[in-house]
């Protein structure tokens, strides 16, 4: 009934109400002339409304306005947000500690670590930690020469140590894991050398700048350096162990190359350490001579209390430095012998014993470096106490960088200057009078 009724209803037409055709055309003309007067000439600007209107030609209008438009708007907002974040992160990539974009860089890195800890395996986690440690080392290297940022060295190096500790932990787990660890261990072994080189530069930089906080920072850098070296050795040890267990992904050549890299690094470290100690020794000699010169100039007059104390302190420092120099020379000699021994084992394909020797070399190097570090620290505390009595320039093969310290003032009760002696590439030297 309904269909029939609808059919009949559709047949009802408004036949008798057709408009007059003449009126229709006349009205059309009038309307057009009216509306043309309201149209402003000139190019129309693009409007987003036109875009939605165009879209609604092909899609239902309600769908365009209630679904498509909000979805596109959300996508645009999301893409702008992500794009902005990517741009910020990209811009912050080169940021250094103390820069305003540095927190953005660290936030991204921390997010990366969280994500990789959830979705990644030990191998990829290790690589991320190594990469972050490398970044921290490079940051420390860059800021060490910047007086405004050098105070951030301690925090940066601490973060580096955290990353290296995470690598260490992963290496321990990898040692007992059945999965292939070739890629991760090679990555650690290679990058650890780069981190070590950067830390070596940081250490030198701190000595050159001789800032108040150097002593504390030097200790942190030395600690990080030891940790890094040990981690490098551990990575090679894991490689050796895995190779000997029959892991085909780690070839004999890979292991030999890693051990040789460790040996080369140990030799380089020993040589640098030896040179540093010799330079410090020279610096102490120069300062010793300066103090004796002051004493001679007094020509029998009563020496001031500060000069007497200074003279005693420098004598002690000289002894300590001489002792450190002897020890580092001995260590360098031992390292040389051990390296020959390790290479001998390597030529015999005796990887395990070669590795044992590498461990001994690194331990020897670490001990020698600790002695040298202690000496330098002692020197920084003792040597810097020099009266401003001398005005004459000192000729030596080292730079003597002088700064006033409140601490040394209170110790001596007189105006004093602190001096840190460092290796120099130039032959000029100065003592700044305060």
């Amino acid at each position: 009934m309904s269909r029939e009724l609808i059919k009949q209803l559709k047949m009802l037409k408004h036949e008798a109400v057709k408009p007059n055709e003449e009126w229709l055309q006349r009205n059309r003309g009038i309307l057009l002339s009216q509306i043309k007067n309201t149209v402003s000439p000139g190019a129309r600007k693009f409007s987003t409304a036109n875009f939605w209107q165009a879209m609604s030609i092909f899609l239902p209008t309600k769908l365009v306005y209630s679904a498509v438009r909000p979805i596109i708007a959300l996508l645009l907002i999301a893409s702008m947000g992500v794009g902005g974040w990517i741009a910020t992160v990209d811009a912050s990539y080169e940021a250094l500690p103390g820069d305003w974009l540095y927190p953005a860089k660290r936030a991204t890195e921390k997010t990366h670590v969280v994500v990789i800890n959830v979705v990644g395996d030990k191998s990829s986690q290790t690589k991320v930690h190594v990469e972050l440690a490398k970044r921290r080392a490079n940051e420390a290297r860059k800021i060490v020469s910047n007086p405004a940022k050098v105070k951030m060295i301690g925090a940066t190096v601490n973060e580096l140590k955290d990353e290296i500790n995470a690598v260490n932990k992963n290496l321990d787990e990898m040692k007992t894991s059945n999965k292939s660890v070739a890629e991760a261990t090679k990555n650690v072994a290679q990058n650890v050398q780069e981190i070590n080189d950067a830390l070596r530069e940081v250490k030198t930089g701190l000595l050159i700048n001789g800032s108040v906080t150097s002593s504390d920072n030097l200790a942190k850098v030395a600690e990080a350096k030891d940790l890094t070296k040990n981690t490098g050795v551990k990575a090679v040890e894991v490689m050796v162990a895995k190779h000997l267990q029959g892991d085909s992904s780690i070839s004999k050549d890979d292991v030999k190359l890693a051990i040789n890299t460790q040996l080369a690094s140990a030799v380089k470290d020993a040589a640098t350490l030896n040179q540093s100690t010799e330079d410090v020794n020279k610096a102490v000699s120069v300062l010793n001579n300066e103090v004796k010169e002051i004493a001679r100039e007094s020509r029998g007059e009563t020496l001031s209390t500060s000069t007497k104390i200074l003279s005693t302190m420098i004598d002690e420092a000289a002894k300590q430095t001489q002792d450190a120099m002897n020890k580092t020379q001995q260590a360098a000699s031992t390292t040389g012998q051990k390296v020959t021994e390790a290479k001998e084992f390597l030529s015999q394909d005796n990887l395990q014993q070669a590795m044992d020797v590498v461990r001994e070399i690194v331990n020897t190097g670490n001990k020698a470096e600790n002695v040298a570090n202690n000496t330098i620290q002692a020197l920084q505390n003792v040597l810097p106490v020099v009266t401003a009595a001398t005005e004459s320039p000192v000729s030596s093969s080292i730079n003597i960088v002088v700064t006033t310290t409140a601490a040394s003032k209170s110790v001596m009760g007189v105006t004093v200057i602190s001096v840190s002696a460092v290796p120099s590439t130039t032959t000029t030297s100065t003592i700044q009078q305060k």
Binding site: M1, S2, L5, I6, Q8, L9, K10, M11, L12, K13, H14, E15, A16, V17, K18, P19, N20, W23, L24, N27, R28, I30, L31, L32, Q34, I35, K36, T38, V39, R44, S47, A49, N50, Q53, A54, S56, I57, T61, K62, Y65
Partner: protein
């Protein structure tokens, strides 16, 4: 999508994006007769129907110029026409139904494809429907004529009347039921 609807959307796009008078003229050609009929059906005066039709198209143009959202151009025209008729009735202060018996006799004719050959029984049947329509209340009559005589979509009717599509479907269902009851009574 029917081709006439697609044409309407393209013309409407041209109109809204470029304020193209030619597009407006084409839309006028498509809808002028239908809107005139729709108005004349309610006002039963040639002069008033012409004036209101002209006024409806001019209002539609202003509506477009103001960049207001338009879902359907035909829906807009019918809504403007309906409102104009209501305004006219208010001005006349008439209280009678929009459609009087005379109006309907003027407005709705029983026609067929083969009018001359159509049998007498069928004609009688259609006359019965017209009479039943006349007895319906204004709301029911309007929705039935808009839906089945003017053949508008429910969304357009909803836009014209300003009521929700679901409410309009319910009204249409009730209107058809009432019409059937009236036809049975007859």
């Amino acid at each position: 999508m029917p081709s006439n609807k697609l044409t309407e959307k393209i013309l409407l796009y041209k109109l809204q994006s470029k304020e193209d008078p030619e597009a407006f003229a084409k839309l006028y050609d498509i809808y002028a007769r239908r809107i005139y009929s729709f108005i004349y059906f309610k006002v039963s005066s040639v002069e008033e129907a012409e004036d209101i039709t002209s006024e409806v198209f001019l209002k539609a143009w202003h509506y477009i110029s103001e960049k207001k959202k338009i879902e359907s151009f035909s829906g807009l025209l019918y809504r403007l026409a309906r409102n104009s008729v209501v305004d006219l009735y208010r001005s006349r202060n008439k209280t009678k139904n929009i459609l009087s018996l005379d109006d309907v006799e003027l407005g709705i004719q029983i026609v067929g494809h083969e009018r001359l050959s159509e049998n007498f029984g069928q004609k009688l049947e259609k006359e019965k429907i017209v009479l039943a329509l006349q007895k319906l209340k204004q709301e029911y009559r309007e929705i039935i004529t808009l839906r089945y005589v003017d053949e508008l979509e429910m969304s357009e009717i909803s836009q014209i009347t300003g009521k929700g599509a679901i409410a309009m479907r319910v009204t249409l269902h009730r209107a058809l039921k009432k019409l059937k009851d009236l036809l049975k009574e007859n």
